[in-house]
Amino acid sequence: MQGLRGTALPVLGTVAFFALIELAVVTGVVAETSLPRPTSIAKALFELVQTGSFWGAVGNTMKGWALGLGLAIAAAVPIGIAVGSSQWLYRSVRFVVDFIRPIPSIALLPLFILVFGIDLQLKVYIIALGAFWPLFFQTMYGVQDVDPVARDTATAYRLGRFMRFFFLSLPGATPYIATGLRISASIALLLGVGTEMVVGLSGIGQDIFKAQYAGQPAHAFALIASSGLLGVAIAIGFNRLERRTLRWHPSQRRELPS
């Protein structure tokens, strides 16, 4: 009963939202050429998922996403740990990092087009560049924020550099890295779809662009919705991962149900 009442409101709200849009289009408040009816979008989406080309596009987008995110992890985590554990390194790079970070990574898109050509590589490097920062900062903060008691204990037990890394820094930073990973995963999707749209690399982004210019708004909206669903799936997946790594963390233990 409790569960039923729990889902009734969200379901009702969602249905009401789409019904309102449908009504606005049917009554002509919004032109159907600019905003298709939700029912036509649903129909277009239903047709879309039965085509191979749609799944090919999804596959291409996700391939760039996975490779770019993987590259970002491979670079950001070791560098973040190194910078986080050395006061000297941290202060040396601080200014450079503060300057580079606010530059949107797609500012470098034109340069990357020249260097890599219009190719999967281009997408992967743009994604990696954008996804690098949240992961790097989270890893660095995580290493800097290791529990002082644990650190003192490690010192008292005279753990070596190697042991300190594996038993102190890495576990201490894991929850932070998981948070960074969640943020980076969404940014990676955003940059992947965006790059596909701007330079015309195969994937959902390019299909959205094509549908929009071919004057098929229902088709375009269905593709946009599917990119949103991909985003939801990624968010849910990485949220789970984050909560898992945080299970032992004091912040989770202290949390009271509200």
């Binding site: 409101l9 969200p10 379901v11 009702l12 709200g13 969602t14 009401a16 939202f17 600019s34 905003l35 000297w88 202060r91 040396s92 790079v93 601080r94 200014f95 450079v96 503060d98 300057f99 580079i100 606010p102 530059i103 949107p104 797609i106 500012a107 470098l108 898109l109 034109p110 340069l111 087009i113 020249l114 260097v115 969404s186 999707l189 955003l190 992947g192 779809v193 965006g194 749209m197 701007v198 982004g205 959205i208 662009f209 929009q212 708004p217 375009a220 909206f221 593709l223 946009i224 919705a225 990119s227 949103g228 669903l229 985003g231 939801v232 990624i234 968010a235 509200s258």
Partner: protein
């Protein structure tokens, strides 16, 4: 003093080394993609002092500022409402979660279909994309207000308006600023994207167009300008944040000291 001096050198050596290294290593560069820094600086001067400030920089800043302002006002207003009004928040949660998961460039596509290619489209895209971080953080901030403060407000029979503007919003300010900070980065990104995608002026357009017409030093100068803009708006934001949260920091410091004394 020597310690401070040493600290200063520690922070400054790498930036100096990066710029100096770039300057000297690129001096004899014949690569068309990586021209000498000297050439880039010349191009920067030719473009941005002050030739294209009015034609490309200002339009970008206008779109960015207007979009972000709309997102901030709408995000805080709607966020406060949803934060206080649990049934509506729960009813809208799935739609909000879905909409905020749509990658921002796809939102630009929606706006092109809805509005067309003009400036309104860019401003709305920026506003819509940066609306969600503000919204979600405001909701969290409003919900995180200390229950004791609300009880107190009730006991003193404060009006709803007073409750919202004197208690709830100030208490939520730190969280709202956290949201605004994310919104700032999103707005900058969407600004650049929308200008690369569908524009005839602006920084994003300038960079991509310079590359397409093979004016590489111009392209580099645009990238550097976009970097400077990103850095500058962040600095301004930090100043505003520090000012707005001054009471909060002070309050936290006192609370900590009192806790330590007790």
């Amino acid at each position: 003093m020597t310690r401070r001096l040493r600290g200063f050198f520690l922070e400054i050596w790498l930036p100096v080394a990066v710029v100096g290294g770039w300057w000297f290593l690129s001096e004899d560069s014949t690569s068309p993609f990586f021209p000498p820094l000297r050439v880039i600086v010349d191009a920067f001067e030719a473009n941005w002092v002050f030739e294209r400030i009015g034609s490309d920089l200002l339009p970008s800043l206008q779109r960015f500022g207007l979009g972000l302002a709309i997102a901030a006002v709408a995000g805080i207003a709607v966020g406060t409402m949803l934060g206080l009004w649990t049934p509506v928040r729960r009813a809208t949660a799935p739609v909000v979660d879905f909409l905020r998961s749509i990658p921002a460039p796809a939102l630009i596509s929606i706006m092109i279909l809805l509005i067309g290619f003009d400036d309104k489209m860019k401003v709305s895209s920026i506003a819509l994309a940066s609306f969600f971080p503000v919204l979600l953080n405001t909701i969290d901030g409003v919900r995180g207000v200390e229950p004791q403060q609300l009880d107190m407000a009730r006991a003193y029979k404060l009006s709803r308006r007073h409750r919202i503007f004197r208690i709830i919003l100030p208490a939520a300010t730190p969280q709202i600023f956290a949201g605004l900070r994310i919104a700032l980065a999103v707005a900058l990104l969407v600004m650049a994207f929308s200008e690369m995608f569908a524009s005839t002026n602006g920084l994003g357009f300038f960079i991509l167009f310079a590359q397409e017409t093979y004016r590489i030093p111009d392209m580099w100068s645009g990238i550097i300008m976009l970097g400077l803009v990103g850095y500058a708006v962040n600095v301004v934001f930090l100043l505003v944040e520090r000012r707005a949260l001054r009471w909060h920091r002070g309050w936290r410091a006192t609370a900590r000291d009192a806790g330590g004394a007790a």
